[in-house]
Symmetry: C2
Subunit: 335 residues, 2 copies
């Protein structure tokens, strides 16, 4: 995917629905030249509003559909803007279940103009089943007590902290936003079920003994819909280190109000037990909390309580960064 990007926000009215665009802007602001909405859209990321033509003049190469809607479909009301972007010289990228390439007018326009369509949700290759053989190199996987709790942000903040101190580290994306941010990866929730572990093994191949792959986790073992993806990703990643992501004030799973968020200590125990199947040395090394809906006093209490209960360092990747957790990692795996 060529950067810079124009971020398409469609007609969404809640920031949560634009989390793909918000994530790209948070982690790769230098890639983002502007935003564009269609009628009805009210979400504002604070970027300059611009047409595809203006974005192209300012150097944009790709317009990214930066939103997620239920069902992952592309409504008709977006089509004119998508076509206009192609005509202005931009490629298109999306992480929806509906493929850009399956919409005839998009496919035909892109073909006529020589533009590229990136459907990052659909794997562009097939994978073998996992083989379970241990690979050289160190691996960290972020796991958690729910979806949308900060696993991608924690992994990106850990990569940033590791690189800042000269450690060899690469973020490995497993979802569409992470792929847009890092320019590569595989959407593990979209591979055929038999090959989840195989895709995870492919994503973090053999590497130097002191190199860290920092792998974006997905879902939770305690999710009634998605735990299978989580388990396959854990097994294929063979993590040495687990960072457990948690929102202390969340009570129910997002979108599954009939399921409580798992107990943090139970989640740490279950995830570590699962990881030890393919890496007997797997261990939890920190807790990354999402404090976006908490007061300062709540945050302080929560960190103190979690550190006491788990014996692990606890920080918010956005508010505090992950230095404290990477310090702890360096005591366990000295260079």
């Amino acid at each position: 995917m060529l950067s810079p990007y124009l971020l398409f926000l469609g007609d969404v009215v809640e920031l949560a629905a634009a989390k793909t665009a918000a994530g790209i802007l948070q982690w790769r602001p230098e890639f983002c030249v502007g935003q564009i909405r269609v009628a009805g859209g009210t979400v504002d990321l604070g970027l300059p509003e611009m047409t595809p033509q203006v974005a192209a003049q300012k150097g944009a190469k790709t317009m990214i559909i930066g939103i997620a809607n239920a069902g992952g479909f592309i409504p008709d009301s977006w089509i004119p803007t998508l076509v206009a972007a192609l005509e202005a010289g931009l490629d298109l990228a999306a992480g929806m279940h509906t493929r850009l390439a399956d919409l005839p007018i998009i496919r035909d326009t892109a073909k006529r103009l020589g533009r590229t369509l990136h459907d990052v949700r659909q794997p562009t290759q097939t994978f073998p089943p996992g083989n379970g053989r241990k690979r050289p190199g160190l691996r960290l996987l972020t796991v958690g007590t729910d979806c949308a709790v900060g696993k991608k942000y924690a992994a990106l903040a850990i990569e940033k902290s590791m690189r800042a101190r000269g450690m060899k580290a690469d973020f490995r994306a497993t979802g569409q936003t992470g792929i847009f941010i890092s320019g590569r990866g595989v959407a593990v929730d979209s591979v055929v079920a038999d090959f989840i572990s195989g895709a995870a093994e492919w994503l973090s191949p053999a590497n130097e003994p002191d190199h860290w792959d920092v792998i974006e986790g997905q879902g939770t073992l305690f999710h009634p819909a998605y735990a299978g993806v989580t388990l396959g990703l854990i097994h294929g990643s063979q993590p040495d280190a687990l960072v457990v992501c948690h929102e202390p004030v969340r009570r129910q799973l997002v979108g599954f109000d009939h399921y409580p968020v798992a107990d943090l200590e139970e989640c740490i125990a279950a995830t570590t037990r699962a990881a030890r199947l393919t890496n007997p040395k797997a261990r939890a090394v920190g807790v990354a909390i999402n404090t976006s809906r908490m007061t300062e006093a709540q945050i302080e209490d929560s960190i103190a309580q979690i550190e006491r209960q788990t014996g692990l360092p606890c920080r918010d990747p956005i508010r505090h960064g992950m230095d404290r957790i990477v310090d702890h990692i360096q005591t366990i795996w000295p260079a």
Copy 2:
């Protein structure tokens, strides 16, 4: 899929490679009119050897590719026989990763002659994600300590025992052989990873309070490649009852010699714990052992030891049937 069947055994030389055909013959002998091999094939199921023409004269409606090879592909050497079957008036069915419909000569011949191609490994529909809401009706899922350990046979034997005593019970197939035997189902290892639980929920829909869905399990939670499928199937099935399948003399996972078979009691505990996420009342109700490589003395010792250790009835579904386990089920859920 229309029965009766002609079973295609290809060029395989080991009975294990013909397990799909062997399973169909074991459970639906009345559907099987004959077998056919190509040059090099030595596996013999004891059925009359016949050409597609003769099979069609004897009433066969479908030729089933009854074998599994590594990679799930269809070699060129099979093609003439597959075309001959279509020309003799038979439909074709297969459970390979390669689709019959993706082979031009097969597709074109079938189209020209009006025959139907059944690729049962590929889901013919899409599924929503699981919703985790409890459905009426009772559900039994077979789980186990490895792949290819007897989960399908145990489920079929339980359905048979339940029906023989007038209980309402339906076998629910989750793999290709089970689909050929029961004529319906979904190959859960072939759905997109995000929808494993959703497919399992679809497979055993709401039913009468005293009706049992007896669901064929897949893999094991202790498998480095396939545990994600196992966990999604457990969560979507919401089993009330778990029957744990085990081969006492197996030491390593089939095809994964670097992984030991899990301890039976650990497997019962882990599987029950996982199942309780979506059905807090889930419990293990029996152990189904595979005794195909054991002596009479070993079998007797093994059953005594497992029953003592687990407190659950233990039997071989092929050798003893599952009556003892269904007796136990009836004490827990009296009609």
